[in-house]
Structures are given as structure tokens and as C-alpha cells.
């Protein structure tokens, strides 16, 4: 069936929504699968927000702690937010959790994906400031090992990179470039990973016992096997803060420039990114502290992995105008990419 015929199958607004969402008969394409990964993480975050700890004074203390070390202009709204939460913990935390639940469900439902992604960007920016103290990037305690530049800002970044639109007339070399183009997508990747490399080299992070202390501090409240794992990892880097920081910074810098390399080399650096993110998630973040019963989110590890997957080179990503087709058996509009 021709494109003209296909255009008559469903309204224009619905065609735009479906663009780049599926291949055929509802089977999601790569970008849609990544969107679903993002939706899953949002849903996980929402359900974690319903934990009893979040309704206690511990939650507002956690928020308040992110004000420390930040400039006054950043810290004051955080303190105000923490005070507000302390006065209405049940109401506000219920609202927070429900908003995140709706964002997760909204991204998973195709008709609401755009609305939910926009909402996720706005919400993530708000939480980045009021809940994470801008990921502590303005303090001396930011480290890629403990989640800098703030896991929640990566949610916003992913929402932009996975936006369900395609730049006309271009073939994207990787999924993250489909909506905003390869140059901008590469620049964002470079900025993120170079900033992580920079944070790794901050004086506070390259001190002899800095990394050791950071990892050892994650042991508290964890199950025995994970605590033992943390202890082993901490002892491995004991008094090796400078060396470990330099090695980590070099790895992060290589990852940063990887997207500018030819496809085969880029894939190697993306694998390195996934491995580094997984190691950080397990040893530096202890799965976001979820197993302690007090984790608000899985932290940055899974998001960095999802981000790396969105930069995985693809042979050819066909643009929206070329993809419109009709599935003969159903008359439904689909995609052929």
C-alpha cells in the first residue's frame, strides 16, 4: 500500500505519535525499547518512593543533606523544600510517588509518550535541584562513583535523546541522534562523560583513602553478601585513591570521545561504558541502596547503561517520512525500520 493510502488510515496526530515507535504489529523498534527501559526505571523509582522510609523524617533529612556544601542560592530552596516535606510528609511523598508512577505508565503507553517525556524532563530538573542538590556538582563531593552528576538529570537527558521524532532527510548513526541529530547527541555524551572524568579527579576523590571510604560507606544496611563484596572492593582500593582516580578518569575520557570514533571502535568504548557503569552500580552505589529498604532510586548505573545503548551504532535508521507503511493484514500503520 502506498504512503498516501497509509496516511488515510489514521489521523495525523496519531501518525505522529506512532512515528518511530514500532516496527510491525506492535513490536517496538530500538528506540521504543529504550523508552520502555526508561519507563521501567521510572516505575521502579515510583514504587521505591512508596517505601515506609520515604514517609518518615528520614526522607526530609535526606533532602536537607543535599544542601550542604552548595552555594546559598542553590541550598536555600533545598532547605525550604526539606522543611515543607517535614511538615507534610504523607501528602507530599504520596504526590511525589504518584507523579513518578504516572510518568512511568505514561511513557509505556504509546499515546501519552510525548506528554510523559515532557513531564519527566520537568520533574527530573525539579528533583535534580530540590532533591539532589544539583547532583552536588557545585560541591567538592561529587564523584562518578557515588552518582554524580545526579542520576535524575540523566532521566531528563534520556527523555530528550529518546524523543519520538526523526529529523527529516537524515540517517541517524545511532538511536540517540534520531531526534536531535548526531552532532548535538555526541556533544551531550562528551559533556557528560568528560564531566564524570573531571569529578573523578577532584581533590576530595583522589585522596589516598577517598575511594575506599566511599565504597566502604555503602556497606551499612546491605545484605551480608553485598556488604562483603563492598568490603572486598574497598580493601582493593585502600590507599590507592590517586591511582584509582586516574585510571577511572582515563577510562571515562576514552568513553567520552568514543562516539566520535569509527563504528567498531565506538562499540568498544560503549562496551567499556556499560562495564564501568555496571561496576559503579554494584560497588560504588550498591544497587542504589535499594536492598537497605531506604533507596529512593537505582542511582546512575542503570541509566548510564541505557544511555550507552542509545548510542550503539546502527546500520541505518530510516527517517519518519520513509518509514510510514501499512501492515496489510490489519490496516494498521507500522514502521519498517
Amino acid at each position: 500500500m502506498t504512503e498516501i493510502a497509509a496516511a488515510g488510515v489514521r489521523p495525523g496526530w496519531r501518525s505522529r505519535i506512532d512515528a518511530g515507535v514500532s516496527t510491525a504489529r506492535g513490536t517496538p523498534d530500538v528506540r521504543r525499547r529504550l523508552q520502555l527501559g526508561l519507563a521501567g526505571i521510572w516505575l521502579l523509582v515510583a514504587l521505591l518512593q512508596y517505601q515506609s522510609f520515604m514517609f518518615s523524617s528520614g526522607f526530609n533529612q535526606m533532602i536537607n543533606a543535599t544542601a550542604a556544601g552548595n552555594p546559598r542560592v542553590v541550598a536555600s530552596p533545598i532547605t525550604w523544600d526539606a522543611t515543607l516535606v517535614s511538615h507534610h510528609p504523607v501528602l507530599l511523598n504520596s504526590i511525589f510517588a504518584t507523579i513518578q508512577l504516572l510518568i512511568g505508565i505514561g511513557i509505556a503507553l504509546r499515546p501519552t509518550v510525548r506528554l510523559a517525556l515532557v513531564a519527566s524532563i520537568a520533574w527530573a530538573l525539579g528533583v535534580w535541584w530540590f532533591g539532589e542538590g544539583l547532583g552536588m556538582v557545585l560541591t567538592s563531593s561529587a564523584s562518578p562513583v557515588n552518582g554524580a552528576p545526579g542520576a535524575v538529570i540523566i532521566y531528563a537527558l534520556l527523555a530528550i535523546l529518546l524523543w519520538p521524532a526523526d529529523r527529516e532527510g537524515r540517517q541517524a548513526p545511532f538511536t540517540a541522534a534520531r531526534a536531535i541529530g548526531a552532532p548535538i547527541a555526541r556533544a551531550l555524551w562528551l559533556l557528560l562523560w568528560l564531566s564524570l572524568a573531571y569529578f573523578a579527579l577532584l581533590p576530595g576523590n583522589r585522596a589516598p583513602q577517598a575511594l575506599n571510604g566511599m565504597i566502604a560507606s555503602m556497606e551499612s544496611g546491605e545484605p551480608g553478601w553485598l556488604a562483603a563484596l563492598e568490603r572486598s572492593a574497598a580493601s582493593l582500593v585502600a590507599h590507592q585513591g590517586l591511582t584509582a582516580s586516574i585510571v577511572l578518569a582515563i577510562a571515562l575520557a576514552i568513553i567520552a570521545i568514543g562516539v566520535y570514533l569509527p563504528a567498531s571502535a565506538a562499540k568498544a568504548t560503549l562496551v567499556l561504558a556499560i562495564v564501568v557503569a555496571a561496576v559503579i552500580w554494584v560497588f560504588g552505589e550498591a544497587f542504589g541502596g535499594i536492598l537497605t529498604g531506604g533507596g529512593t532510586d537505582p542511582n546512575s548505573g542503570p541509566l548510564l547503561i541505557l544511555l550507552a545503548l542509545s548510542y550503539w551504532p546502527v546500520r541505518a535508521t530510516v527517517t519518519a517520512s520513509a518509514r510510514t507503511a501499512v501492515i496489510p493484514a490489519t490496516g494498521q500503520e507500522g514502521t519498517t525500520a
Binding site: L43, L44, S56, G104, L109, G293
Partner: protein, 264 residues
């Protein structure tokens, strides 16, 4: 301490799922259709899980002792494991990821895990699960919390997938009424053995188009077949529509993941 209103809300959703599942069983009447009794397993499991979860969330809704529920879900887990293995033999490993029974296996196994691994707080040690209305302080936890985390991740994965497919343009065999629309209203599943790898619908309705009165061989494998209970229904519409079963599964997936995470 989790507010009672949140636990009550989730319990209310579970009661609604139980009611819908019961209604589906009553309307479909699988007991009158011999071989189709096998296809009611989804709704029966939804019904049992929903009742059990409502009792876990709100103490006053408890029905059976924990040990009894553990036996029930052990049987359901074994049943769905058997069906998944049967599907895998017919359709390969794809049945594990996208099959009809795999999500139900995970749901049943997660329920079994919750009842077996539950550790009551000291104050409620003699009172079974005792509900969660007491909040974290008065609420039990789960042994091997990493398993709870893994179960929650898998449940969330299936839930997200269901939501996507439910709202998808093609919507696949699991979710849409495409097959039911093609076949006449009185389509009856006469063969859905895993070995055949395809469901065959007979279409005796005189009102149906001629092209649809011939047996319709679903192109999908067993793992891609429409929701079994919906296929078994007289119409596959109304309360028996596939999206109703999928919605129940979504609601249960979210609630189960919620319970697993708050009991870590």
C-alpha cells in the same frame, strides 16, 4: 510508616481485579466446555493472587493462613512452569520472553516467594503476615531481599511491556481483538495444544462473513496466541476481552512489585 490509605488503595485495586477475574470465569463457564478448563488458569490465578494480595495489604481482608497460600501458589507455579516448558518445546526460548504463560509463572513464583520468605516482626510473630497496615515498623520483611528486587524488576518489565502492547497500533495477538473480530462472535477454540503451535478457531455462526466461517489458523505460535481465556470465550469481548485480562495483569504486576519492594 506507609499510610493506610495507600495500602487500602492497592487492596481495593486487587479486590477489583478479583471481581473482574471471577466475572470472567462466570461468563466464560470453562467447566461446561471440557478441554477448555485448561484455559481458565489465567483467570483462576488472577483471582487467587488478587485475594491473597488484598489480605497481605490489609489485615482485615486475610482469608487463608500463610501456609495454605504457599501451597496454593506452589501448585500454580508448578502448573505455569509446566506450561512454559511445554510452550518452550513448541516455540523455543521465545516462549520465555513473550509467551502467554511466562508472566503468570513469574507472578505465581513471586507470590510463593513472598509467602515462603516472609519474616514477621517480633511483635506480630504469632499472627502470620498480619497485614502491612502497621507500616515498616510493624511490618515484616522478606528473606533474601535480592530475590525480591529481582522479582520486582522482572514484574516491572512485564508490566511495561504489557502497557506498551496494550496501546500499540498492531497490538499483537495477546492484546487486540483482531482475531476475535476476524472470527465470528461464536468462535470457539477447538485446538490449542502446544504441540501444534497454533490455535484453530472454528466459526459456526451463521451471521459471520463467509470468509470467517472457515477455521482460522492463527499465524502466531502458542507464545503469540491471543490471551487464552479470551479465545475460549464466546465473544472475546466485554469482560472477556483480552485487554481486560491484560489490564488485570498490569494491576497485579504493579501491586506485586510494590509489595516486594516495601518488604525488602
Amino acid at each position: 510508616m506507609i499510610p493506610a490509605s495507600i495500602l487500602d488503595t492497592f487492596a481495593a485495586i486487587m479486590l477489583a481485579v478479583a471481581a473482574v477475574s471471577a466475572a470472567r470465569l462466570v461468563v466464560a463457564r470453562p467447566w461446561q466446555q471440557g478441554t477448555q478448563a485448561i484455559l481458565a488458569d489465567t483467570d483462576i490465578s488472577h483471582l487467587l493472587m488478587a485475594i491473597a494480595m488484598a489480605g497481605m495489604l490489609v489485615a482485615s481482608l486475610q482469608t487463608l493462613p500463610n501456609a495454605a497460600w504457599a501451597v496454593v501458589f506452589a501448585v500454580l507455579t508448578a502448573w505455569f512452569a509446566y506450561r512454559v516448558i511445554r510452550d518452550a518445546r513448541a516455540s523455543g526460548v521465545r516462549a520465555l520472553a513473550g509467551g502467554h504463560c511466562a508472566p503468570h509463572l513469574i507472578h505465581a513464583a513471586a507470590m510463593l516467594y513472598m509467602f515462603v520468605a516472609f519474616t514477621a516482626p517480633a511483635a506480630h510473630a504469632s499472627g502470620g503476615m498480619g497485614g502491612m497496615a502497621g507500616g515498616m515498623g510493624g511490618m515484616g520483611t522478606l528473606q533474601v531481599p535480592f530475590l525480591a528486587f529481582v522479582f520486582a524488576l522482572v514484574l516491572i518489565g512485564y508490566t511495561i511491556w504489557d502497557l506498551d502492547q496494550l496501546s500499540g497500533p498492531g497490538a499483537g495477538g495477546h492484546y487486540s481483538l483482531a482475531i476475535a473480530r476476524t472470527a465470528p462472535a461464536a468462535a470457539v477454540l477447538v485446538g490449542a495444544t502446544a504441540g501444534s503451535g497454533a490455535a484453530v478457531l472454528s466459526a459456526p455462526s451463521a451471521a459471520a462473513p463467509a470468509s470467517a466461517t472457515a477455521p482460522v489458523s492463527a499465524a502466531a505460535t502458542v507464545g503469540q496466541q491471543a490471551d487464552a481465556s479470551a479465545l475460549a470465550s464466546p465473544a472475546g469481548q466485554g469482560v472477556l476481552a483480552p485487554w481486560v485480562a491484560t489490564s488485570c495483569r498490569i494491576a497485579m504486576g504493579v501491586t506485586m512489585a510494590f509489595m516486594l519492594l516495601i518488604m525488602i
